[in-house]
Amino acid sequence: MSTRLELRDISHRYRTGERAVSHLTLTAGPGELVALLGPSGCGKTTVLKIIAGLLRPTAGAVLADGNDMTGVPPERRRVAMVFQKPLLFPHLSVAANVGFGLRMRGMGRRETGRRVEQALRQVRMEGFADRRPEELSGGQQQRVALARALVTEPRLLLLDEPFSALDANLREEMRELTKHLHATGDFTTLLVTHDQGEAVSLAERIALLLDGRLQMYDTPEAFYNRPVNRRVAEFFGATNFLEGRISDGAAETPLGRLKLAAPVPPGSATLTIRPEAVRLEAGENSFPARILSAAYLGTQVLYTLEAGSVRLRAAVPPHVKLGVGQRVSARLPAESLWAFSE
């Protein structure tokens, strides 16, 4: 049975006095796959350890289905965790590793054996039951670690960058496997990652943590198209920013008056648009620009445009061939322009 996880105003300070997490409030619905995204050292792992019960937060509460879990020891939380390293027990065989959690809960040998076999099949490691962890590759070890966590039938699965130590192909394979296991299983998943691509491709919702503070908690699509502030936008690769004053659904900017589709309160704001949304054509919201440089990226060409004092990036399909120094018309479609005030 999957759980509804609620973090209520969690703060944590290390014993050195350094703040790891500040006032984190977050809810993950039952069966949801949520990514906790942020650069390394932003307090993500601390949050996972607090949820798992390995760390007690300095302040705040962890709730599962409305029950306060803050003081409950990890072994009674029905929360399984897969760490960055596989952390298989080196003195036990693969089968004994996977069966560890069941044995600790007092399950009999035969039933344990049956479930271990099933769990190993789920991660396609059925032929390795009698091997020692040191005989397996990194990817295989991490798959066994996944089986070891899932066999305990957790209500909540915590993944702490479990793919970051693997090479690119394997990482892709593990993501697919995780997605599949989450879809077929009955548990809520919280994935910690520093890789926004991973968060976007796996998660239903992303919580972006910068300097221990939650910046934004929304769908992947919202992070690209409706970032709440400049840091969030920059974390997701946005490079085009324009200062402006909003009035009557349009913004007064150095590029002239630009129409906005999204309702934005009047006042000063920062406008942003993704490079791939910039059009090189005339029309509404267009202005003359000069091509400053071009970078060929295979599936698209990234142009740097100059219009007065403003520089913008535009990513266009590679069949559009334009030379450096050429004058063009650039257009920022109203529906792709997003504004936030800070």
């Binding site: 798992a52 072994e75 760490f83 003195h91 560890f100 959690g101 600790m104 809960r105 070891r148």
Partner: protein, 271 residues
């Protein structure tokens, strides 16, 4: 890595030869009948030494048994005391940790005679003087510091991550200790136990002071024989006395076969 392991094996075999060669004359003497200078080997062989030790009225068997019982009990107790101490010191950082380590090491820094004089008076009052139990207790003085310090370094290399993984899988703190920590530190515990055993086994002064001549151990027989004139008896005793150390060395050699990932008794990889 294979190459380095092999050279480490050769080095250890060489050390074994260096350690055991001086013992060879002792082994010869213990079976010698007549052996005059400058002969390389004894002129005749006999079991006189061994017969004398095993003869009725000899206290040899009693001494060996006492030594074994005391050393085994001391080993167990020193490990049981040293394990939590080493775990606390190796895993946690706290204020005055250096002072605590210093206090733990104090018994091997202070000359044993100085402290045992006082311990003796207390033991007389408690009725522990001249008893096996008293000797066992006083042997803990020089052994616990070693087990505690060895196990501190064993635990200092651990991160506690495996235990955290065990906890999230449903193991309680004791289960995690028993099923994960203990198997992981077993080689280190073996080394610590070996130290405790050998220190207790070779203890003379503390045994004499607290045992008061009532509790006879092997070193006491050896010391009195060595001040006598019969080299055969002395050598025979010395051979028995050296036996545990030789056995330990052979065990160490067994542990260090090439490709053994645990390394030398688990203290660390040799290669």
């Amino acid at each position: 890595m294979d190459k380095r392991n092999r050279s480490a094996g050769i080095a250890l075999a060489l050390a074994a030869v260096l350690v055991t060669t001086p013992l060879l004359p002792l082994a010869l003497w213990s079976f010698a009948g007549e052996w005059r200078f400058p002969d390389l080997l004894p002129a005749s062989w006999s079991l006189r030494g061994w017969e004398a030790l095993l003869a009725p009225g000899s206290r040899f068997t009693e001494a060996v048994l006492n030594s074994l019982v005391i050393a085994a009990a001391v080993t167990a107790a020193a490990v049981v005391i040293g394990l939590p101490a080493g775990m606390a010191l190796g895993t946690h950082d706290f204020r005055l940790k250096g002072v605590v380590i210093f206090i733990i090491l104090l018994p091997i820094l202070v000359p044993p005679l100085a402290s045992t004089m006082g311990i003796h008076l207390t033991f007389i009052r408690l009725g522990l003087a001249d008893t096996m139990f008293g000797v066992f207790l006083v042997h803990l003085v020089p052994t616990v510091p070693y087990t505690a310090i060895i196990l501190t370094s064993v635990f200092a290399e651990r991160t506690g991550e495996l235990e955290e993984a065990a906890r999230t899988l449903g193991a309680g703190p004791w289960q995690a200790f028993w099923h994960v920590t203990l198997p992981q530190v077993a080689p280190g515990v073996a080394v610590a136990g070996l130290f405790a055993f050998l220190i207790s086994w070779s203890q003379y002064i503390l045994t004499v002071l607290i045992g008061g001549g009532t509790v006879i151990t092997l070193p006491m027989l050896l010391f009195s024989a060595a001040s006598g004139t019969d080299p055969v008896i002395t050598s025979t005793l010395a051979v028995v006395f050296a036996l545990p150390a030789v056995v330990a060395l052979l065990l160490a050699l067994r542990y260090l076969n090439p490709g053994n990932e645990r390394g030398f008794l688990g203290v660390g990889k040799v290669s």
